[in-house]
Symmetry: none
DNA sequence: AATGAATGAGGGTTCATTCAT
DNA sequence: TATGAATGAACCCTCATTCAT
């Protein structure tokens, strides 16, 4: 019996990280079903069996890829959202955190859209419950923020959950537009402002904007 | 030698329609890769070979399913959108047409989201160009509407294409929320109002205008 | 009950002939297994079922194609061979008849080589016994001629059957060389002379050819 | 990471050899199209997938079978042919080498005749160019020998290429006669002599030269 | 007789997964 | 632990053949 050396442990973690990264890029490029374990093993420079010894199955590997990144995303978004004191600030931070994250994880974006945004039917959920829970908790937090906004008389009295979904979808939609565009995506700040402005005040120009115009300027002054 | 009798022709069309319907439901339920041609043949109550004699390959069948429904959707949406005289009317009709269509074609919605909203990377595009073109033309029409709104001083001067995408995404997001919900989805009109209101005027309550809709309508009827 | 009109009967025969011709060309081009009944039906401008009503099965159609042409070949060759009074004349006529026939039926040649020259193993004979018998009878006739030549002291005392096979193979080999060549094949007479000369007198030049040279000239004077 | 151990490598080669042997026998027995990969896997006592991991596809496996044996044949024949100093010696050695090879590789003979002797039309060539080239090179060597014989005044002035083809076909024809015969084939030497005699001096008995071989040898040893 | 839509057995091929080394 | 050869279930597709009209 050997006790695992610290070096061993470190290497082990590095390997896992490495395989996850490689898998993410291939899954993102080809999708789950058109990715083969051999392709992953090849690109990761491990033997086929080694991948299995680390992750058990293709499905589990895929889930781990999603789970890891979703955790990062949700943590980041949740923290940022909570960080601001006002409702508007929270909204803005939510949009900023999500947008920034996807800007930095473009290849993951495709997986996210395919899996979280358009999940397979309930019976055959490809995602483990933990991931969906995580995602739902993020959405719940956002719902809470909306709800507070409604209670404070800031937001119109709509179904908070639906509004939250709408905002979430709005950021996804925008992020998605990067995927198609081959050109360098617009600066993040512009996107953040567009979404925030649209969500808070809509597309229509108002005639007598008193305080609102101020807050809008603050949101938009990055460009 | 003989051309097919009218009856034969009619049956032929019925069979095609039948297979397309069956395929749609299975593809929607399991996705492209987890659907087998045998499942389709079985559910359609045709022999395997018969499906092939009608559609050539799994890929082509899938494309035909998408193409047929996307054509319906786009026609319906385009017509309705053009139908209204004012910009706001067009926006509202767009949302109404799309929402209504998805309400009536719930199973197709999943395919639509998977294919149009989250396309696979360029090399492996599962959709024929014609379908994507169709979709793009719908989006272009919408972009035109937005653009007109901006020119008329109704909408804020934003990137019309991005705004159009946002509105499209917003309706998708809402429609998507039906997929998860096991409960009877809310009445269509509610959803339509939510999206339209959110898009046009945002989530925030404005201080001065008590009857927002009235004053705003005045703005739009100048054209 | 209608008695078949003479016209009907005539048409029937014409159809059979037509389908056989079409089949021969396709079988020759692609081989048995890579030819489909649909291809034949299409090129023959009959419905699939019609082909079956005439020939029962792909195998039977194929056999009929071979059988018909082999019968023509064997009849022609046998008649010509018997026609000449001398052994040398018979040999020459045999070569001439076979060569001429293949010259006129180039597409059949491929089938012939594939089926008669290189038959599939005994268990799975694709040819009906009648065809093989026909072919064997031709070879027997030739063997008889050789045998007579040996008895008359004209030919060396070799195994007549083997010698006959050799001559038969020699003509096949030559005919085969036309298949590869895209250029217009050499005049038939040249080929006939080459084979006959080679078979009767070999490749070697003899020093004191007294009578032999005469007979050779007779054989070769066509060119 | 690790290169395969010598043992692994050895086994790998043995497996390839084994599968090739098994395939050859089945292909020879049933032909390409009536042989299934499952049959091969079964007889080779490997899983279906294993055969594919070794050879990629049925077509490639078939080609490898042919290629391997044709290479053996051509090497053997070319070496033997070059070995003799005189033209007649070369001719005799050519016949001997080919005949001996087929005597020892009876099952391959059928494949050889089907593929080399009766190739499918150009578009559907089942053989890789390399194999056909190999075969052509053998034939070219033989043509060279014939050509030398003609130049030395030994052979009649015929088209050397055609004569070479004729000799090649003659040996094939003879070898082929073994395929049908269930009885033990005649001793190889007899066959070799028959072909050589026939090719060099023809079937006809010459009047004057009692000891043909002697006088003829004198003709040939001038080189 | 003629038609061609419908049938379904069968074959080539892929790829997740296992396991002996 | 790491390896990768071996496995075989499962899938897409073809095509000879049948049969109702």
């Amino acid at each position: 019996m050997f006790e695992p050396t610290p070096r061993r442990k470190r290497e082990h973690k590095q390997h896992i990280r490495h395989i996850l990264d490689v898998s993410e890029s291939i899954f993102a490029e080809k999708g789950f079903f058109q990715t083969t374990m051999r392709q992953i093993a090849l690109k990761a420079e491990f033997a086929l069996g080694t991948i299995y010894s680390y992750f058990g199955s293709k499905r589990q590997l895929y889930e781990k890829v999603i789970e890891t990144k979703v955790n990062e995303l949700v943590s980041s978004v949740t923290n940022e959202t909570l960080d601001a004191p006002t409702v508007q600030g929270k909204i803005e931070n939510f949009v900023r955190a999500k947008t920034t994250f996807f800007h930095k994880n473009l290849s993951f974006l495709r997986l996210y859209l395919a899996e979280v945004d358009v999940p397979r039917p309930d019976v055959h959920h490809i995602l483990p419950k933990s991931v969906r829970d995580k995602y739902d908790s993020m959405l719940s937090d956002l719902t809470g923020v909306i709800w507070r906004g409604i209670n404070e008389g800031l937001f119109k009295p709509m179904d908070a959950r639906v509004v939250a979904k709408a905002l979430d979808g709005l950021t996804n939609t925008l992020a998605f537009s990067w995927l198609g565009a081959q050109e360098a995506p617009a600066p993040v700040e512009t996107d953040i402002n567009t979404v925030t402005e649209l969500f808070l005040y809509g597309a229509t120009i108002h005639r007598e904007p008193t305080q609102n115009s101020n807050s809008r300027r603050e949101l938009g002054n990055g460009s």
